[in-house]
């Protein structure tokens, strides 16, 4: 029976519908202390004094820890995947409101919380910078010197750079943009902005550290346990094998739980007090951990009379907040495709990752791509309008096709751009007459399409154990945070080894037993780990055959494994261990930002929207949201569709309602009541189409798609609003008030005159 390609229930679904699934959220260990964090109330300041005395005296408080205590344990207590810039607890300076300054430890979390309220701190306030463009001026410096981590080879050149808030600048130069712009019939320029958003995983950040005699165990809701182990070992100066990182099911990640969040803190606390320590953040505290970059994107295109884009320049400023996290990689990797899924001979990209005094920004479902698509697909629509072409026809004319060089110079391969676009056009009935509404309710429709290069080069390792009874266990470092990776890998193993997927046991991340994986991020896992799993299964299959030969069983016969083991070892004994490591090839960008091999696979996704605008209130009702993505050959189509619908609705929230509001560096809506993620009654019916193609180097022809569903949503809606009522929104989110203000401005009677 074919395992891959069928709609298959999740392996863990029974545990999840009965309330028995294990999350770090539930964990309690004997003797465990709860830590509650005292946070900075100023956006930028020198720490003058931290008064912890009252908290220390509170009955039930075990200990109060500050950055200076951590420093006694770890002399250089700075961590981060791209830069070693983030202190475990603030030292000397605080750089954003909400930065952890001290921790109160108590057996009762109520007491720990009360203790936090008894701490006070004095700061010498420093001027702060919040805007990503203003941060280009070096008069306010968030960090004096850049401290690249060395993890990523392409960031090493930044070492010791100082006097700037630019954490990373990526530049791409292809062809002659200025020359082509001079020749173009139309030169069109716009600036688009996006807002600061939040992941809002429903299991807030939670980590537990247990200091054993010779080993530190960390239980954590994290997407990259291998990185946690390496980074914690580095901080303590230990070998990797002294740190054990275990990850059970994770209640949502979306990029927020990548790399290190609370892990270094709980590890240090546990080592200081020699007791297990748990820190479980509240939903409010999540607003001070990691966010989605606000951006300013200046985009300029040169277009010929007949509608060919001949040049495009892109300047993007990414607001990375106070600590780099993975922001520099977001700015760089997304830079490759900042000009969109179009065949343009002359392209320049300037992408700047900026330090500011905000909550840090990192990866959020797509490593920056949705911010770029918002700009370039809104811009593309505006160009079509300006030159008087239908937006679908205009895109058709310019779409990049397989075999042609992408802006980075890499030849496009296995990217179903025209197919995805065609699927959208067809589903949207673009050529059919469209009811445009009447009176105060006006209707419009819009479309958008995008391309992403996966985060590469990265490594995944898989191990498969066939036991002597033939039962199969898979060990991977992938984290199943809802995307269904356990199930997908079981299907791959089942396919290779000829067993039902439901009989494959998948062991969750436990760095004592599961091998290295770079991280569950950026839609990379399914491709990278999927390939490793397939190769490991093939390795096991080969070894099982060899065992049969050793046992003297004739070749080509199909003995069940249990017979092979029995024959070879005389009883039910032994194992076959299959292993594989997968690392795709990659060429780093040269001085021009160009590379012949920038990604092992491309992701393609797009959206179409029909909206109804209430011209009296500005309220936008999305009547229909169509999503299509290139999924290669899907391994589990039902899960793939859920990934698309989930991504699309998350992006719908970023489009219409979600925004972190800042006042003097303070987040003024740090609660789920005031930060508005979409609910079930707020969203349209969503149609998701998997565009089946072949990813030649993917596992069974498949590719990752956890992010593709986000790509087109924001510009498709803005384009539809423009189509409906003739106004263009240049900044997210598109609130009813923003639409009304635009309508009134267009009518020449601004709202505030009323």
């Amino acid at each position: 029976m074919n395992q891959v390609g069928r709609d298959f229930p999740r392996l863990e679904v029974r545990a999840k519908v009965t309330g028995r699934a294990e999350y770090t959220h539930h964990l309690r260990l004997p003797g465990m202390l709860y830590g509650k964090v005292f946070r900075s109330t100023v956006p930028h300041g020198r720490i003058l004094h931290i008064d912890t005395e009252a908290a220390r005296k509170l009955p039930g408080v075990h200990r109060v820890i500050t950055g200076e205590d951590i420093k006694k344990l770890i002399p250089e207590p700075y961590y981060g995947p791209a830069f070693h810039d983030q202190p475990i607890l603030a030292l000397e300076k605080v750089r954003h409101v909400g930065e952890p300054v001290a921790v109160v430890l108590a057996s009762d979390p109520h007491v720990a919380e009360q203790g936090v309220q008894l701490i006070s701190a004095e700061y010498e306030e420093l001027p702060a910078v919040y805007d990503e463009v203003q941060a280009m001026k070096p008069d306010i410096l968030v960090h004096e010197v850049l401290k690249p981590a060395g993890t990523f080879a392409d960031l090493k050149h930044l070492k010791d750079r100082g006097g700037t808030n630019v954490a990373l600048d990526y530049h791409l130069r292809r062809g002659d943009v200025d020359g082509a712009l001079a020749k173009a019939d139309h030169v069109i320029e716009h600036t688009f902005k996006t807002q600061q958003c939040l992941h809002v995983a429903f299991e807030p950040f939670v980590s537990v550290a247990d200091p054993g005699d010779s080993k530190l165990t960390i239980y954590t809701a994290n997407q990259s346990p291998s990185f946690v182990r390496i980074e914690i070992a580095r901080l303590f100066g230990w070998p990797e094998n002294r740190v054990r990182v275990k990850v059970p099911y994770v209640g949502g990640g979306f990029g927020g739980k990548l790399y290190i969040k609370l892990e270094a803190l709980v590890a240090a606390l546990a080592m200081l007090v020699r007791r297990p320590v748990k820190i479980a953040l509240t939903m409010e505290e999540q607003f001070y951990v990691i966010t989605k970059h606000p951006t300013t994107f200046r985009i300029k295109s040169g277009v010929t009379k007949d509608g060919r884009i001949i040049a495009r320049s892109c300047e993007v400023h990414w607001n990375g907040g106070a600590y780099a996290d993975i922001g520099p990689r977001v700015a760089q990797k997304s830079g490759f495709t900042a000009a969109g899924p179009y065949d343009i001979d002359n392209v320049s990209v300037d992408s700047y990752e900026m330090y500011t005094n905000r909550t840090p920004a990192g990866a959020l479902r797509c490593f920056g791509i949705p911010q770029l698509v918002w700009a370039y697909e809104s811009h593309t629509d505006l160009i079509a309008r300006e030159i008087g072409m239908d937006p679908v026809e205009f895109r058709h004319k310019n779409l990049l096709r397989n075999g042609r060089p992408q802006a980075s110079g890499t030849i496009l391969k296995d990217a179903a751009i025209p197919e995805v676009f065609q699927a959208l056009v067809k589903r949207m009935n673009w050529d059919a007459p469209f009811d445009r509404g009447a009176g105060i309710l006006r209707r419009g429709r819009g479309i958008a399409i995008a391309l992403k290069a996966v985060i590469s080069p990265t490594t995944s390792v898989a191990v498969i154990n066939i036991s002597a009874d033939g039962s199969i266990t898979l060990f991977t470092g992938s984290v199943d945070m809802g995307q269904g990776s356990d199930t997908a890998y079981a299907l791959i193993v089942g396919e290779v080894l000829g067993v039902p997927a439901e009989d494959v046991r998948v062991v969750h991340s436990d760095t004592d037993v599961t091998p290295y994986d770079m991280g569950t991020l950026g839609s990379r896992s399914f491709y990278h780990m999927g390939n490793a799993v397939r190769l490991a299964a093939e390795d096991a299959r080969g070894k099982l055959r060899a065992l049969a030969t050793e046992a003297g069983l004739p070749e080509g016969t199909n003995y069940p494994p249990v017979e092979i083991f029995k024959k070879r070892y005389g009883m039910q004994a032994g194992n076959v261990i299959g292993t594989a490591t997968f690392l795709p090839t990659y060429s780093p960008p040269d001085a021009q930002g160009l590379s012949s091999n920038v990604t092992p696979f491309w992701m393609v996704g797009g959206a179409g929207a029909e909206v109804e605008v209430d011209t009296e209130t500005g309220h936008v009702r999305v009547l229909r949201l169509v999503n299509a993505a290139d999924c290669g050959k899907p391994i589990n189509p039902a899960v793939a569709r859920t990934q698309l619908s989930g991504a699309a609705i998350m992006q719908l929230g970023f489009t219409l309602s979600e925004a972190m509001h800042l006042d003097g560096g303070q987040v003024t809506n740090a609660s789920l009541a005031d930060y508005k993620i979409p609910g079930m009654a707020d969203i349209p019916p969503i149609e998701c189409e998997l565009v089946t193609a072949e990813q030649h180097n993917g596992p069974f022809g498949a590719k990752g798609l956890g992010e593709s569903g986000t790509f087109g949503v924001s510009p498709a809606i803005a384009n539809a609003i423009h189509d409906a009522v003739g106004v263009r929104i240049m900044e997210l989110p598109i609130t009813a008030e923003a639409v009304l203000r635009a309508l009134r401005a267009k009518e020449g009677r601004p709202l505030d005159d009323e």
């Binding site: 979390p109 109520h110 919380e113 009360q114 309220q117 509240t282 939903m283 409010e284 009296e616 209130t617 309220h619 309602s657 509001h661 003024t668 809506n669 009541a673 005031d674 508005k676 979409p678 609910g679 009654a681 707020d682 009813a736 008030e737 009304l740 203000r741 709202l751 505030d752 009323e754």
Partner: protein
């Protein structure tokens, strides 16, 4: 998100509740549905020394029909009001408003007395109480008193209720015959507090308006009755020019503020638009249309 320390009494009578409140000398809070109080405790925005739980007081949750009014016990849950056939028959504008109050699980617990006592500036129930000229019966150890809803809401989250008093009963006069109603709300999401909402009733006979009521929420620190605007309607049939001037009067009667969810300008604008829509709906219903 863990509440501070407090003591707790589960009152079994209103007398017991008010005695406990009096004894606590202003440091006690009543817990009814708890849907607003519990988050404030968890955020440690409130630190009462004592919680007086009134959920176990028998006979405090009821909807009773009298000749000219409905009497609603303070502990009556939102869900009971929403689904009450008596309310649907006599005060359909209240039934309609209830569907905008949060979500099912919140409406199962939240109470009318709690919502009015909390006095959220963007909540629906205070607006309806003001619209319908409710009378609120309040008890304390020193006796009982009655307050008109109009006078009850003093400021945002501030009502005319002493820390030793409990709101016991809400009396809502029935609407006259030939009265139509309208309810219009704009919120960020389904179930959210209103950015702006307007409720209106029109009593019509012989083609002209005899009585008009317009109330708003979300457009200032307290719910607002737009009395001057109401007056403009009396004696007329509803037509667009009239509605325009009424909407103008409504916009003039309110003092909205900027907040996270909308600017004062936008709220003022919405007040006009929603007044227009609510009045048209009320007019249609007064003519017997659904």
């Amino acid at each position: 998100m863990k509440p501070p320390v407090f003591d707790y009494i589960a009152a079994t009578s209103t007398d017991m509740a008010v005695a406990a409140l009096a004894a606590a000398g202003g440091e006690a809070k009543i817990i009814a549905g708890g849907q607003s109080l519990m988050p404030m405790l968890s955020f440690r925005l409130l630190r009462p020394s004592l919680l007086v739980d009134i959920n176990r007081i028998p006979g405090l949750a009821y909807i009773e029909e009298a000749d000219t009014c409905l009497r609603i016990g303070a502990l009556t849950r939102h869900f009971q009001i929403e689904t009450s056939p008596v309310i649907a028959r006599h005060l359909p504008v209240l039934s309609a408003a209830m569907t905008h109050v949060a979500h099912l699980a919140i409406r199962n617990r939240g109470t009318i007395g709690g919502s009015l006592s909390h006095g959220d500036p963007a909540a629906e129930l205070p607006m309806i109480a003001v619209l319908l000229d409710a009378t609120l019966h309040i008890e304390s150890v020193s006796g009982q008193r009655a307050v008109r809803a109009q006078d009850f809401f003093l400021d945002a989250l501030t009502v005319d209720l002493d820390s030793a008093e409990v709101l016991a009963e809400i009396i809502l006069p029935k609407l006259p015959p030939n009265t139509g109603w309208g309810f219009e709300e704009i919120a960020r999401r389904h179930g959210d507090f209103a950015i702006a909402a307007v409720a209106a009733t029109l009593t019509v006979s012989d083609g002209s308006i005899r009585q008009a009521r317009i109330a708003l929420t979300g457009v200032g620190p307290t719910p607002v009755r737009a009395a001057a605007a109401e007056t403009l309607l009396i004696g007329h049939a509803l037509e667009n020019k009239l509605v325009e001037s009424v909407a103008r009067a409504v916009r003039a009667a309110i003092a909205p503020e900027d907040d996270l969810h909308a600017s004062a300008d936008y709220r003022r604008h919405l007040a006009g638009v929603l007044t227009d829509r609510a009045l048209h709906a009320a007019w249609r219903r007064a003519q017997g249309e659904p």
